[in-house]
């Protein structure tokens, strides 16, 4: 069913994550604009989903029994596109069309244009409600498919996230797993300066969720968390993935100014060299 090799081979997944990062950087540089920091910070989590955890079929993107991935933080579109292309949903050459006229690779994901994108996103705060609706629908249909929803940490300042947090718990959506890319940064600065989201773990516990708190760049920890989430019954799980914005490229890491800026050609060269040297 799933042509993607499902493997707990951590070295393989590390290499995949590196390839994903390289493709993110290349497509952003080619596009000349886009969101670098938040695409890189969630690269390990999304790699683990697409190449380990999720049951999906690039040859049949609408396969009824697939697991669903909702990129609620839609500005990390390059990350989604890299994972989809590497999975085989479309040819790699399409990555070079990102943000260009006529491209199915819109600045933020558009489900009407690109197979593998479950729903158009870009306006923050909406994905968790959609994920809930899908989880409810799958449950009504008696399917075992699971729903994964990637949220930004700044994004959870949106009120709708907490409406959805309440709903998922109220409807005991244990087929749902939210993942917060907790990189500590948003656009105007650190989350704790702009509008604190702490205590992040206790908030979700208080809303009735099972919380797993991990290092979001430790592939082994990510796999364990995703596996554990599947065993938790009667409530939804949220994985708080502690990450570094811009992860993998030293001069982007932890830098708020690289939230929405693409690498220059010079920066790309340096970044690729660094990624090669480190792994």
């Amino acid at each position: 069913m799933n042509p993607i090799s499902v493997s707990r081979d951590i070295n393989f997944l590390r290499r995949q994550a590196k390839t994903v990062r390289i493709e993110i950087l290349e497509m952003l540089t080619e596009a000349g604009s886009g969101h670098t920091g938040g695409s890189l910070s969630a690269a390990d989590v999304v790699t683990a989903l697409y190449f380990y955890k999720m049951r999906h079929n690039p040859k049949d993107p609408l396969w009824k029994e697939r697991d669903r991935f909702i990129l609620s933080k839609g500005h990390a579109a390059p990350l989604l596109y890299a994972a989809l292309s590497l999975s085989g949903y479309f040819d790699k050459s399409l990555l070079g069309t990102l943000r260009k006229i006529g491209s199915p690779l819109q600045g933020h994901p558009c489900s009407k244009l690109l197979p593998g994108v479950e729903i158009s996103t870009g306006s923050l705060g909406q994905g968790l409600s959609i994920a809930n609706g899908i989880a409810l629908g799958l449950r009504m249909d008696g399917l075992n498919s699971r729903v994964y929803c990637l949220l930004g940490d700044g994004e959870i300042q949106e009120g709708q996230i907490w409406e959805a947090a309440m709903s998922a718990s109220h409807y005991s959506l244990d087929n749902l797993c939210a993942i917060i890319d907790n990189n500590g940064l948003q656009i105007d600065g650190c989350c704790h300066d702009v509008m604190t989201i702490e205590p992040i773990v206790n908030k979700w516990i208080a809303f009735g969720w099972n919380v797993i708190d991990i290092n979001g760049h430790d592939i082994g920890a990510i796999l364990d968390a995703l596996d554990e989430a599947e065993t938790i019954k009667g409530k939804p799980t949220v994985i708080v993935a502690r990450t570094v914005k811009g992860k993998g490229v030293s001069f982007f890491e932890g830098k708020v100014q690289y939230h929405g800026v693409a690498p220059t050609h010079e920066e790309l060269k340096k970044a690729l060299r660094e990624l090669e040297d480190n792994g």
Partner: protein
């Protein structure tokens, strides 16, 4: 992009299916439907229609935001509790969850008051329902000033404008109970976003019992030589009353029920303009951006004739009995009569 074309074609097909009609004003009663002696709130008809639809199709799911008694989705909830989701007081989550359900092949109806559905959750509707062209039915009740005593905070007078501006969105304002039932049945087979605007108060049953609604197709009661009134929602019955008064005064006016405000039945509008050279629009909505605006857009580009817009004149409503408010805001048959007389003087 292909999807968009397909939608447009589908809509055109829908409107082609129906030859222009000039049916007589005769209204018959009948079993299982409403008759002309009755007053029926469109929200009550919605509750019944949902229940019927739920019996016929097991993929129908209904969502509400703590107003199921008022919106009448509670009727469905009682019979099909496993297909009803109360989202609590959270309209944004209501729209998102309905969208998710539709992504798994469910026929999702999301209901609350019009002001909250289209106002509070407008951007959710834009980003998720309209942009992704999802099969979500937004059926809102308590539209317009006839919400009455609750006052301006609860009176949606801008919802048609808010929904009409969204690509992929169809906007329907049923005139009575018969049409509401028809609309719900029809949109169940139309796999795209639809906004249906319903009311709180009981209104006359005016559509013929054998009436068949189709999306984008106006219903012409009659065409007049002096003026034609294009109305929607509860203003259709008011327009009919005005037409009768005008007739007694020797003025030949016609009435068109433009229940689909988008896509507008352009042919019906232009035909009416050619017949009378004076068009009056009537809606329980702001005169800005609603039916009046839509009719003006079509006429200015295709067949300019004078247009007078009856509606809420860029102001908020206030508390009071529905009938009193209709007078206060100039939405009575006499207001239409006076407008026509002044315009053709």
């Amino acid at each position: 992009m292909g999807e968009k074309e397909e939608t447009r074609d589908k809509r055109q097909e829908t409107s082609k299916d129906n030859a222009p009609s000039n049916p007589p004003l005769k209204i018959r009663g009948g079993r299982g439907s409403y008759d002309s002696s009755q007053l029926v709130a469109t929200r009550d008809a919605y509750g019944e229609a949902l229940l019927e639809l739920g019996k016929k199709r097991n993929n129908v799911v209904v969502l509400d935001a703590d107003l199921s008694a008022s919106t009448k989705t509670g009727t469905f909830a009682k019979v099909f509790p496993e297909r009803f989701y109360n989202m609590g007081i959270s309209e944004q989550d209501l729209i998102g969850t309905a969208s998710g359900l539709s992504l798994t092949g469910k026929l999702a109806f999301a209901s609350t008051f019009a002001v909250f559905e289209t106002g509070r959750a407008w951007e959710q509707i834009r980003q998720t329902v309209s942009y992704s062209n999802l099969n979500v039915k937004l059926v809102a009740t308590h539209s317009g000033i006839t919400v009455a005593e609750d006052g301006a905070s609860h009176q949606a007078i801008e919802d048609i404008a808010l929904m009409r501006v969204l690509p992929n969105m169809t906007v329907i304002v049923p005139a009575d109970g018969i049409e509401t039932k028809q609309v719900i049945e029809t949109i169940a087979d139309y796999n795209y976003p639809v906004y249906v605007r319903l009311g709180r108060v009981k209104v006359p049953v005016i559509m013929p019992e054998d009436y068949k609604f189709s999306i984008g197709k106006a219903y012409t009661f009659s065409l007049g030589k002096d003026a034609n009134i294009i109305a929607c929602g509860i203003m259709v019955s008011v327009a009919i009353k005005a037409m009768e008064i005008l007739k007694e005064n020797g003025i030949d006016a016609g009435v068109i029920n433009m229940s689909t405000v988008k896509p507008l039945d352009n042919d019906a509008v232009i035909k009416a303009a050619k017949a009378s050279r004076l068009i009056v629009t009537a809606e329980e909505h702001s005169i800005i951006g609603g039916l009046g605006g839509a009719v003006c857009e079509i006429l200015t580009e295709n067949y300019p004739v004078p247009v007078k817009r009856i509606g809420i004149k860029d102001t908020f409503g206030c508390s009071g009995p529905a009938e009193g408010l209709m007078k206060l805001y100039g939405l009575t048959a006499d207001d239409i009569v006076r407008t026509v007389k002044e315009a053709i003087k």
